[in-house]
Assembly symmetry: C2
Homo-oligomer: 204 residues x 2
């Protein structure tokens, strides 16, 4: 079903487009992601790129979904087999920090979702809604782990899960700035110390 490529290869092509789109958008934002540049980077024509998505907005949504899948693979899945509650929460937070610190190959421009959130938080449209939906889902999962940890007595009984999650998100955004804008070598140390203040000393 194709000219230069078979139907199966077409899927691969689409994946290549999304993968490259993630890298570009993590640096220049989802709006700064242009079809022409994406095509040039991949050695394709603009029509060839756009043919897989139809419109730029659909391409943005696909890129966002691709980034979320990569994030899930890096942060959520490795912690899935940890004991629910504080152990799993810590594992997720450690992986989140590692995602910000060492996932430069997939996300060279820093946190894809911080960029997308700030870029679209003052606009309407499906991209904004999709970003908000993702953050809400992640916050819900974090809050659930906090609740489990409180029930298990691993976090103080008075802890407000939503409050803890609010502060965690702020921690990750501050770390992202520390790494990307300031290239601070002690960024991860700071983040770990803030984490200890929130969840109690590490490896307690």
């Amino acid at each position: 079903m194709s000219p230069r490529n078979s139907a199966a290869e077409a899927r691969r092509t689409r994946e290549r487009i999304v993968e490259r789109g993630i890298a570009l958008a993590s640096s220049d934002g989802l709006e700064g992601l242009t079809i022409g540049r994406l095509a040039a980077d991949l050695g394709m024509s603009k029509a060839g790129v756009l043919g897989h998505f139809g419109t730029k907005e659909t391409l943005q949504l696909a890129t966002l979904d691709g980034a979320a899948a990569a994030f899930s693979r890096l942060v959520w899945e490795p912690a899935a087999d940890r004991e629910p509650g504080l152990p799993r929460l810590r594992a997720v937070c450690d992986a989140w920090i590692a995602y910000l610190d060492t996932a430069r190959d997939v996300f060279p421009g820093g946190c894809f979702f911080t960029t997308a959130s700030v870029e679209f938080d003052a606009r309407g449209g499906p991209v904004r809604e999709s970003v908000a939906r993702m953050y809400r889902a992640w916050r819900r999962r974090l809050a659930a782990e906090v609740r489990t940890a409180v029930a298990a007595g691993d976090l103080p009984a008075g802890s407000d899960p939503e409050q803890t999650v609010f502060e965690l998100i702020g921690l990750f955004m501050a770390l992202n700035q520390e790494i990307q804008l300031f290239a601070a070598p002690d960024a991860v140390d700071r983040a770990r110390r803030a984490l200890d203040r929130l969840l109690g000393p590490h490896r307690a």
Copy 2:
């Protein structure tokens, strides 16, 4: 020295351009700030707008400076006559929260500097450097107040000022997201509680 306007009015025109630029850039970013749109908004020609700055980059830097001046007026100056240390630090933080929550007329798109930081943190150039310089200056001032508060015994002796500032910045970014992306009605309450956790209970 001018055609339709005198030299004095030209300064006013420049201020109008910057003021409108701040509003536009707080929503769409400094890159999304386009000369054509700015001109249309102000009922001017593109050449008339650009004539005051020469290049878009200079316009971006002027807009950034204008935003910093407005921020200073809203956040730093009102706290300047407070007692150095914890009282002044608290006043600045409260004003910072108010800036994020209620300064919609000047900054309709939320925190101008979070937007600029995330937009330029993966690029080079003078705009990025200017953003970094501003944040560094603000962080230095915050850290100085923390140090004074520690010396006065208003904060625990073991407090690390840079660490406290790191967490404060995260708090403000999380609040910005809570307001802009989620329009959460309890956003300010959350921020205040996080602040209490950092600096001790309010009005102690």
